[in-house]
Assembly symmetry: none
Homo-oligomer: 213 residues x 4
DNA sequence: AATGAATGAGAATTCATTCAT
DNA sequence: TATGAATGAATTCTCATTCAT
């Protein structure tokens, strides 16, 4: 509108990502692009200049998350105590999710099919698999726990605590502890269901059920 | 011309609920009302005769779910093995959620604020609290686990397995087992975060943060 | 399942077609749907209720034109004087085009790829081919004139007179006469270019050049 | 630092005209300005520096066309065989139009109202009138054919062949021959409609009917 | 009561044009 | 002068909801 001057493109991109992350986190993926523009203090057209479609914007936000997760996972691969490292990774990941309501809703959206996002998820799965394997070998978790279990639990634990997040932003720690105790339980019987297959983002072709497996 | 219209009305209401449950489960809450009307084999106007707004329809579906959960909880209160009963309750609840993609999305919607729904959630929490207390007293779960933990875990475990649901509809059993092992872990240290407060549906007035606590 | 409100629907569809024909004729295909709605005296949504996309509306208008042309062609096939019939057909066709500026612009639009439209064009070409063959056999036109020539000339003659249409709505008669004289010229040398192939609407797949051949 | 910027400006203007001609020819007048900028290898702002509005750019392209037509007409005025000259002029003109899909669409656009364009059209009409008068006097065309007829036929013949252009870029020669035969037909009855008035571009004020006369 | 046509407030997206650097 | 980021009006289309029949 009466915006004084044209801001640096880089700066606006950052403003937009911040505004979008916030808006998606608060309102979910159905928040209008115009709301995001407003929060970023730019005109609607500027959003589309930086992110040609809404799904491109969602994908960019996913990438932020995935990049941070990947960085953490790779760093923790060098830790001596693999069990501790695995738990730290989960804590970090859940903490990131806790800031973003959109994560649950983004599943099944075309944004997950961006080549970039698919690759990042793939790389993340690789690293978490390594992280988990080390914990398994050190006896820190049961022998039948896989990296995919861990990735799935990230979202699940976050979701468990989500209704509390407003009033108790750290409540997820409670459920992480419970889950981690379950992951360790060495003397228990075999789990009643085999380990899940590696996560595969759905091909852009399959249109029926939009959920991944 | 005694009551045929009324009978029709009852029948249509049932058709609509079935169709809506199915449609929401398959497509999520963004499915158009027209799609629901079509699946039910009635005209759009008829949907609105029975459910004045979309959120009323969502609330009715929530009520179905909650009623079934409540029935199960109350029945299981009479079981001898309280640990077994708690686990059965969770399995039943997660199984219901697994059939309905809309459940995750409904959080934060005004449908959660229907007086009827709030009351049902309240009643459910009471029953699950009882169920959990019995399991606690029988030593089947740790002493610091509450009914609210259990209710929250319902959604969380479902969410953990959700990306697998298409290909492996029973995968949630694996994560229920893990979580339940964690709930039992008697020799562990205290949980790092205190038990959550009782679930409270948000007041219809507070519009900012749509998540409950 | 009576048909009470449907009378309105039929009436509105007619209003819309009339309004759209007028609007396209006056303003070209770029006229906004909202303008058409306004001219028809209905709300925007009503246009889309009747014609799900703009191209559907354009296709419906094309169908009006093609149906009338086809009716005329078929009727004239029974005339005794084939040369006269062919000229009458052209006069009728050009008269229809003269009322519609959109016709020139619609070429290459997806509306031409509607199955219904393609079939109508096909049928029209068949009839005009017959009409032309009869004129050829009666010696009313040169031996190397085909139905496709005639169909193409319809648009061409209209286009020739178009800049005059506002002030002289019948000026196309002058150019029809000139063209028809050219079609008859029996003692002339062979035409410098072979007859065109049958008109074929482009496959929806070919996206490069949107013009038909 | 004498005039390098100016030289750049001239060069850019030429690049832009070339790119725009090409883009309009391929895609029609709705091609975005950004596409033209890209084809010219300059930034969008540069397009607007040279042509303040899109219609200014269209007008400049019209001027190119008109200048070439005018040059040809004037050159052919000196030919001995006036009938041959007239036909050569038409062939040249149609050939130019055949390369430019935008020409048909430009009719009715404000670009036709540029003073410069109006003058060029006027001058062209004068020359073509002379050209036609000479052909008339030599008996090469009917006595009631005017220069305006010829100018109008340029667009009309092009339009006739347009649907074939993709596959048969020279098909217009067939229709030029037919039309020219019609123009010659000396023994025919009088044409059924009087010669058109001189072409007049519409006043910028009259906004209702966008077609010229 | 049921129907389905009509409504109109948005939603995403495009693009000519402006303007700061 | 050239650049390209920003603008915002305009456009197509969707969908919850209302209402006449």
């Amino acid at each position: 509108m009466a915006e004084p001057g044209r801001a640096d493109g880089v700066r606006n991109r950052r403003l937009l990502l911040r505004a979008a992350t916030e808006a998606f986190a608060e309102c979910g993926v159905d928040v209008p692009m115009s709301e995001i523009a407003q929060r970023a203090g730019v005109a609607k057209g500027t959003v589309f200049r930086h992110f040609p479609t809404k799904d491109d914007l969602l994908a960019a936000i996913m990438m932020q998350l995935l990049d941070r997760l990947l960085g953490t996972a790779d760093r923790l691969l060098r830790a001596a105590d693999a069990g501790r490292a695995l738990r730290d990774f989960m804590a970090h990941g859940i903490g990131l999710l806790a800031a973003d309501r959109a994560f649950c809703e983004v599943i099944g959206r075309p944004s997950l099919q961006h080549a970039e996002v698919r690759e990042a998820i793939d790389r993340l799965c690789d690293s978490v698999e390594d992280l988990t394997a080390r914990a398994r070998h050190q006896g820190a978790v049961r022998g039948d726990i896989t990296g995919t279990d861990i990735v799935l639990l990230l979202g699940g634990i976050h979701q468990t605590a989500q209704p509390l997040l407003d009033r108790e932003p750290r409540a997820w720690q409670r459920f992480l502890e419970i889950a981690f105790d379950g992951l360790c339980a060495r003397d228990s019987a075999a789990l009643p269901y085999p380990p899940p297959a590696r996560l595969r983002m759905p091909d852009p072709s399959s249109a029926s059920h939009p959920v991944t497996a």
